[in-house]
Structure formats: structure tokens, C-alpha cells
């Protein structure tokens, strides 16, 4: 009982993910700043931002539905934290696992985007509503390629459990190199999921102020921000578990270091892409995702199916 609570709330649950999420946000911001020839924030800035937001008053618009408005940030945070329990972090085994947990993780990681939609919709501001519409439109563009390119390695491993996938790739080193196209596709989809440039269309500052988050303030905004940070590290952990499955079984300390390095590597790639691109328009984003990214995901699927016929009989 105590162990379960410890796992849920402290390690590797909420507290660890929150701290790791804030640290990842700092890394993201400092890399972004250094690449732009700026100083960047001090190391405690994300935490200070969070404390400041939590200390502030929540303002809920009169027109908004208060229950839905308040529920959305918590739901986003819960979904992101829950997803982490099924992902093998630094061992081959996740905290919990069953056959089919891959689908559950993908589903749980979709929930934050849905809460962005509902939160924006229920705050009834025009800017929020447009942001909400854009978030849900964007969801359809990146989610399909993401699902396909993550299911492809699972097909090769012949299991729908992340822990068993990790065990399979640990048993067959260098098989992960077959999935590099899928890794690229997943990175692009992660940019869309985390609403970062070039896919920060739902919160495009110069067009619709802050999109979904326009009416959010105080604790609720703080929770949303934390949810996005946690989603970033959980998403990166998922990518690391599926596409970079190596470094398991060499002791928990070294394994932990390798896990953190893998996640930060993915965070760095995301920060780099948000430095070198301009924001796309929503129609251009749809076109790009369906014309180029989705076919690439299918290519990955075909590669894995073919390999499955050749390598594993």
C-alpha cells in the first residue's frame, strides 16, 4: 500500500515527473535561448514561474462553464502522469504492464490535447474557441502518423506491450536502427502534440493571443503548463522506449543516467526544430502531415512488416 502510494505520488510518479518536466523545460528554454544568441533563464525559472502562477488568483470568465473550466487542467496533468506508469523507463519492465498497454499510453497522451480543446471551448472567449478548433484540427493531422509509426516497431516485436517490446529489442540489439524513419515521424508528431514551433498554431501568439489558454490564469494555468511539461518528458520517454531501446540491464544507476540522457536528447531535438522553423499555417500543417509525414509512417510500417517476414519466422 505504502509502496503503491510512493510509486504514484513520488517516484516515478507525480513528483519525479514534475521535477523532471520542469528541468526539461529549463533545458529546452536554455538551448532555445543559446541558439538565438540570448542568455536564457536561470535554472530555477520554470519552478519560479510555477510557484508564481500557483500563488495567483484564478479568474474564471462569467460566461464559462466553471466545472469544465476547472477540471481540464487537472485532467490533462493526470492523464500525462498516468501514461508514465506503463512506459519502461530505465529497466525493461514498466511499473505496470499488460498486453495492449501501448494503445493505452497513446490514448492517455491524446487526452491533454482533448483537454486543450474542451478547456478552450468552455472558456467561450473567441480567441480560445479558435485555438480550441485549431488544436482539434491539428490533432487529426499528427495523431494518425504517430499511431502508425509507433505501432510499426510493436509489429516487429510481435507484442502490444511496451515492456515486452523493450525486452524484445534488448534481446535483439541493433534492431532499433530499422525504426529510424519512424523516430523522425514521431518527433514531428511530438512537435504537434506539444504545440511547439512550427506547429504551435493553436496558441499562435500573434494571431489568437494564447489560443486555448487565453482565459486561463493562476493555478489553473500553472497546472496546464505543468501538464505540458510532464507530457513532454512522458512523450519523450515513450519515444525513447520505442525507438531508442538500448542501455537496459546495466544496473539501475547507469540505466537511470542513460534514460535521462535519452529523454534530454529528444528534448534537445525538439528545441532545435523550434529554433530553425517559422510557424506554419493550419492548412499547410495539414497538407504537410498528410502528404509527407503519414506516407513516411506507412513506409515504416511496410519496412517492419517486411523485416518481420525475413528476420523472425
Amino acid at each position: 500500500m505504502i509502496a503503491a502510494f510512493f510509486n504514484l505520488l513520488i517516484f516515478p510518479g507525480f513528483l519525479f515527473l514534475a521535477i523532471f518536466g520542469l528541468a526539461a523545460e529549463y533545458i529546452d528554454r536554455i538551448i532555445y535561448a543559446r541558439l538565438q544568441n540570448r542568455m536564457g533563464p536561470p535554472w530555477f525559472q520554470p519552478l519560479a514561474d510555477l510557484i508564481k502562477l500557483i500563488a495567483k488568483e484564478d479568474v474564471i470568465p462569467c460566461e464559462a462553464n466553471p466545472r469544465m473550466f476547472k477540471m481540464m487542467p487537472i485532467l490533462a496533468l493526470t492523464a500525462a502522469v498516468t501514461a508514465s506508469f506503463y512506459i519502461p523507463l530505465w529497466g525493461e519492465r514498466a511499473l505496470f504492464s499488460f498486453n495492449g498497454d501501448l494503445v493505452v499510453v497513446l490514448y492517455l497522451l491524446t487526452i491533454p490535447t482533448l483537454t486543450f480543446f474542451l478547456g478552450g471551448w468552455y472558456s467561450t472567449s473567441l480567441f480560445s474557441k479558435i485555438g480550441a478548433m485549431r488544436a482539434i484540427t491539428q490533432l487529426f493531422a499528427y495523431e494518425v502518423p504517430l499511431f502508425i509509426c509507433i505501432l510499426a516497431p510493436a509489429l516487429l516485436a510481435n507484442t502490444w506491450s511496451l515492456s515486452e517490446m523493450a525486452a524484445f529489442y534488448a534481446a535483439h540489439p541493433f534492431y532499433w536502427t530499422f525504426n529510424l524513419i519512424g523516430f523522425g515521424v514521431a518527433l514531428i508528431a511530438m512537435l504537434g502534440k506539444l504545440e511547439k514551433v512550427p506547429f504551435d498554431i493553436p496558441e499562435a501568439e500573434t494571431e489568437i493571443v494564447a489560443g486555448t489558454f487565453t482565459e486561463y490564469s493562476g493555478k489553473l494555468l500553472g497546472f496546464f503548463k505543468l501538464a505540458i511539461d510532464v507530457e513532454a518528458v512522458v512523450g519523450a520517454s515513450l519515444l525513447a522506449a520505442v525507438f531508442l531501446p538500448f542501455g537496459y540491464g546495466i544496473g539501475s544507476y547507469l540505466g537511470f543516467v542513460i534514460y535521462v540522457a535519452k529523454v534530454l536528447f529528444i528534448i534537445c531535438l525538439l528545441a532545435l526544430s523550434r529554433t530553425i522553423f517559422a510557424r506554419l499555417r493550419i492548412d499547410q500543417m495539414m497538407e504537410f502531415c498528410w502528404k509527407y509525414v503519414a506516407p513516411l509512417a506507412f513506409v515504416q510500417l511496410v519496412i517492419d512488416l517486411a523485416l518481420k517476414g525475413v528476420l523472425i519466422r
Binding site: Q36, A278, R279, R281
Partner: protein, 407 residues
Amino acid sequence: MHKVIIPIGPQHPALKEPESFRIQLSGERITGFSVKLGYNHRGIEKACEERTYLQDVYLTERICGICSHAHSTAFTQAVEEIAALAVPKRALYIRTLIGELERIHSHLLWLGVAGHEIGFDTLLMYTWRDREVVMDILATTTGNRVNYGINTIGGVRRDISLAQVKDILKAVDILEERTKYYIDISTKETTMIKRLSGVGVLSHKDAVRLGAVGPTGRASGVDRDVRRDDPYAAYGELDFNVITDDHCDVYGRAVVRLKELMESYRLIRQILKNMPEGPIAVKAPRKIPAGEAVSRYEAPRGEDVHYVKSNGTDKPERVKVRAPTLANVQTVAKMLEDGQLADLPIVIAAIDPCFSCTDRLISIKDTKSKKTNILMWDDLHSYSVKWYRDKGIDFTKLNRKLQGKMS
């Protein structure tokens, strides 16, 4: 999806100055557009009539925070024409030099803002860092980063030393290299081209019909530049190309501005090479003889027109300013026809708007009766007295007391 009207402004992150755009949207598509200016009226024209000519030079300089030299030069040129002053050659060259340095800082600033509007903040950070080079040069040659205060009636106030010439040449070399890099980025970076080309199209015919000026017009193939067509200052003796482009879209406007930067570097090198020796100012009379003059100046944003009428005293009878944004703002509605909401910020930014320079008048609209009326100076004065009295604040006693003291 049903139609919605969203307000962009008076306060909005895309806008640097207060102005109001109301956009009718159907989904992401813009179906209607209206502009409302007048949030920043400062009464500068009227204030000019209350001050002496020399004070007005500094006041007109403050019309715009970015093209301040453009306004003060246009004003001094008009006054010098009325007073028939022969401005020394060296002064004209220094004016031209500052004008071109100002163009560089304005265009680099624009490039950064354009980057920000399309979500490309890296470009903003890079261009604004490089803009500091030219800002430093302006600060060392004139004493100020903006509002240089170098013009005076009859010439300029500061000379350029040999050491400064060396500094400027060095800075121009750095800037030229950086600008080549930005031209490279803007013409090759895929996401940037996607966001710029085909956006905010203004055909050549529409540009002529709506009277677009400056880079906005030149990007639609309107081959007009006051520097060449009606040379002022030292431009008549300098060799430069007027950049035009036939893309007719935001991409074209970016290309025109970037190429104009390259021309400015050429111009500055020529100015520093050919700058004649001699005095930098002639003494101007305090009272300007009666007359009137119109002065044109090619500001970074387009043609800037000043009209000055004098009545023989030391204060002008009338000063009228037509800032370039006023000529360009009408084109925005045309550019946004069938546009997307996402393109709105960059299309507005592409005319390089300067709304507070443009505001010349406030008209008061009664939302109930739809009547519009314009307040004159006396009306405005009595309105303000009444407004304060209604609030329980009465300055009458204080006013009498002050007047009693003065007399």
C-alpha cells in the same frame, strides 16, 4: 461554421501600437475587414503652430520613433525652402548619411518584426542583435539611438570626424555581410517562404489605384522613389538603384527591403567618400518670411510629405504631415481579401505600419445615432473643462491665481 467577428486590437500581441481591426471570419477565412485608427492622436500639427520653427524641428522629430530623421528633415527642408536658405553641401551629405543609417535600422527592425509575426523568433533575435551595430553608430555620430536631433534649420548640428568615418565603414562591412546572410535565409528557408509567398497579394493595378508608397508599392512594381524622382539632400549626386519587385506579395516586400539595405550600404560608402569639406550650417533667421512649401522625403516606409505655411512670424501658420502609413493603410483591406486569419499579422506588418505617426484626427462616433462629429480646438478645450468639472475637479480658481501671479 457560422460567421464570427473577432477584434484584433486596440490591445493585441500582434500589434505594437493601439489600432483596431475587426475581422469577420468564416472558419479560418477572412470575409470582412475594417480598420479603425485614431487611438494615438497627439495633436502634433496643432502643437507646431504654438511653437517656434526651431522648437518644431524637435517636435516633428518626435512624430515617429523609428523614422524620426525623415520627419525632421522633411520639416526643415520645407522651412529652408520658404526662407530661401542655401544649406551647405556638407550638411546635406550628413543629413543623407543619417537618413540612410536610419533606413538600415528601420529595415532590420522590420525584418525582425516580420519574423516574430510568422512565429520565427530566431530571426527576430538575430536581426535585432545586428541592428545594435547600426544603433551604436547612430549613437556615436549623433548622440542618440533614436531622435538624433542632428537637423537644424539651415544645416546640421554635428560634424562627422575622420575617426567616425572609419567606425561607420567598419560597421557597414559587418552589416553587409549579415544582410547577405538574411537574404540567403529569406530566399531559401522553406517554412519562411511558405508563410510569405502568395500572401497579401496586391496587384500592380491596385497598388497604383490605392496609392501605395515605399517598399509596399515597389514590391508591386510601382517604380517610385522620391530619392530619384525628386532628389533632395545629396541624393542627386549619388548613384543608386531603385529596387522594385514583381512578386506583389509579402515575400516581394521582404526582398525589396533586404535589397534596399544593400543599396544603403553602397550609398553610405559613396557619401563618406564624396563628402565635401566646409561649414555644416548657415545661420537661419528667427522669423521666416510669409510663404508656403511642400517637402517630400523617402522615409524607410515610403514617401513622407510635409506642408508648411508661414506668416512672417517666428511660428508657422500651419503644418501638415502625411506619414507614409496613411498612404499604405488602405491597401491592407485589399491584401486581406480571401486571406487567412493566420496571415493577418504578417500582412499588416508587411506595410511596416506606424500608426501613431498616421493619426491626424479623432472623429467621435455616437454608437446610438451613428452620427460622427469632429471636435475643433476650442470645443476640445471646453469639453475637457466640462469633463473635469463633472468629476468634481475645478481648475478655475487655480487658473485665476496663476494668471494673477503672471501679470
